[in-house]
């Protein structure tokens, strides 16, 4: 976990940028997660302070939305679609394969810190189910074999 002291300036800058925007909490949270990869627990008090809301309110918003996370992710985030269209094309086999290969459950990060695994409900790629994303790249018609190839490429790329 990083020292919040170093992240505090990033949070303050994002808060300042969105100061006059109506309904700014989600854009602020996106800004922080884009910059830091997650929303540090210590940032919640700073956000609450700047937006003149309670810590409970800010926490309530962060925890309500599946996309926001409060712990650092792995180097790459894999999102596997669990929706009906993907289920109709053996998506469950892909889900189980992904968990087994990375040796994690949903929301977990592999022991080497390379991959976080998140469930997602629909990537809008239903015409080529089953689907997943790695970071912002979408992959369609993903078989277990294709999953292994894709993961190997990312592993290669970061080393």
């Amino acid at each position: 976990m990083q020292d919040y002291h170093l992240q505090k300036n990033v949070v303050a800058k994002i808060l300042a940028e969105h100061e006059s925007m109506p309904g700014n909490l989600l854009p602020v949270l996106h800004g922080i997660q884009d910059a830091l990869g997650y929303i540090p627990t210590e940032a919640v008090a700073d956000i609450a302070d700047a937006l003149n809301q309670s810590i409970a309110e800010i926490h309530g918003v962060i925890s309500f939305y599946h996309y926001f996370r409060q712990t650092p992710p792995g180097k790459n985030t894999i999102r596997v679609c669990r929706a009906e269209s993907c289920q109709a094309m053996n998506g469950k086999t892909l889900e189980e394969h992904a968990k087994k290969q990375l040796n994690v459950d949903w929301h977990g990060t592999s022991a080497d810190g390379e991959f976080s695994l998140e469930p997602v409900f629909c990537l809008g790629n239903c015409a080529c189910s089953p689907s997943m994303t790695v970071n912002n790249e979408v992959y369609g018609r993903v078989t277990p074999e294709r999953f292994d190839e894709i993961i190997a490429n990312y592993r290669g790329a970061v080393e």
Binding site: P22, G23, N24, L25, L26, P27, L29, H30, L51, G60, V61, F64, Y65, H66, Y67, F68, A83, E84, S85, C86, Q87, A88, M89, V120, F121, C122, L123, G124, N125, C126, A127, C128, S129, S131, N136, E137, V138, Y139, G140, R141
Partner: protein, 516 residues
Amino acid sequence: MTRVFISRDSTVLSLGANQVASALQQACESGGLNVEIVRNGSRGLFWLEPLVEVETTAGRVAYGPVQSQDIPALLEAGMLEGKEHPLYLGNIEELPYFKDQNRLTFARVGITDPVSLDDYLAHEGYRGLRNALDMSPQDIVQQVTDSGLRGRGGAAFPTGIKWNTVLNAPAEQKYIVCNADEGDSGTFSDRMVMEGDPFVLIEGMTIAGLAVGATQGYIYLRVEYPHAGAALNEAIEKAYANGYLGDDILGSGKSFHLEVRLGAGAYICGEETSLLESLEGKRGLVRFKPPLPAIVGLFGKPTIVNNVISLASVPIILDKGGEYYRDYGMGRSRGTLPLQLAGNIKYPGLFEAAFGLTLREILYDYGGGSASGRPIRAVQVGGPLGAYVPESQFDTPLDYEAFSAISAVVGHGGIVVHDDTVDMAEMARYAMEFCVEESCGKCTPCRIGSTRGVEVIDRIVEGRQKDMNTQLLRDLCDTMINGSLCAMGGMTPFPVLSALNHFPEDFGLDKASDAA
């Protein structure tokens, strides 16, 4: 200079379109070939993607599906002159899947460069806005009312009536909110229009603003659609730079401003009042209605909340007139619906057609049957809250009222196909589980009912007191339908009851006890 089109649509990217484009780019550079690669939207024939379309003297000629390793052979065969090759498809617009469509909302998708304003203007873009600028707000609303357009998001409420309510609500500030939180499995028409023709949505929202006197619009976009966000933001920037957005639209003195806001992975935020809460920076809890958002909406002001496809259908209505649009369709379902075929289907894709095709025509004439080659057993229409339709009902025409008569919904036009290996008790359980995960928690039937629903289905499948638990599940569904604040709790029973009624054997129940 030869123009070559390779899609930038997410689904096509997921099949390797970027690799194909860069292979072509490299081959042309090293071979000294004068080629311009245009990254267009997709025509929606996804089993043929990545598609490479070449502009020749004889029109566009397509090749597909193309992988990057096919490029050298294609060039060798004379692809740039539209010559023969095993991947040669000819003119896409002559293929039956494409030719038989009525492309109104999707007229430009797959044809133009999505982020080129010039291309948009050259293909009849912004003609609706120009007409609207010369009309009174009442007349604009009248055109939309005359078109018969109904909300394409799910509830199918008449768009003209909604607009009229906002028009007549006195307020200093009004808003146009585009619900781009398309989260239903099997639907991707919003994504395709935003990625493939973002200006049409911008134009539709601008017209809506003129119609009701709203000067600010928001597109609430799901975070799962990064490519749509990029295309929209690029198009919005160009619209501002060229006077199509801002304080003085095309010198008319009228203003409209537009911004994209990102959601954060909550399905419930597709419900209009949850969406407004989320836009205001709160948890996406459903609001009580009344007051309607048309009266008390975003930041407490009168607000139009419309789905992407509804708003993207407005430019053609204002260009060609309400009657032109109304003349497509059947009964009280007017105009066209972009249908999306997904799941276990041989020819998955999007095609836009007038209301009235039967499911059987859609599944077999367009879809070609299942991908696995096995019999199609159950088809879920209208997303995760839509009913499962069995083969015996495949002759139902796609029409809001006809679907309602069989306790099903058209919704957003998404169709997810399952073959005969599907376990319908498992799908029913999943529907309840999904509601557990995605309920906003505000009202009890949805929040607690869904959790109990999972348990009761488990007990039925395990064979414990089957009759009593089946009755209990029906009672629970009845409570959710009648006691929930919004469609999340109110419609989760649709997939559950349809599975139970049409496929009781999957729950270990006697087929004869079918209550359908």
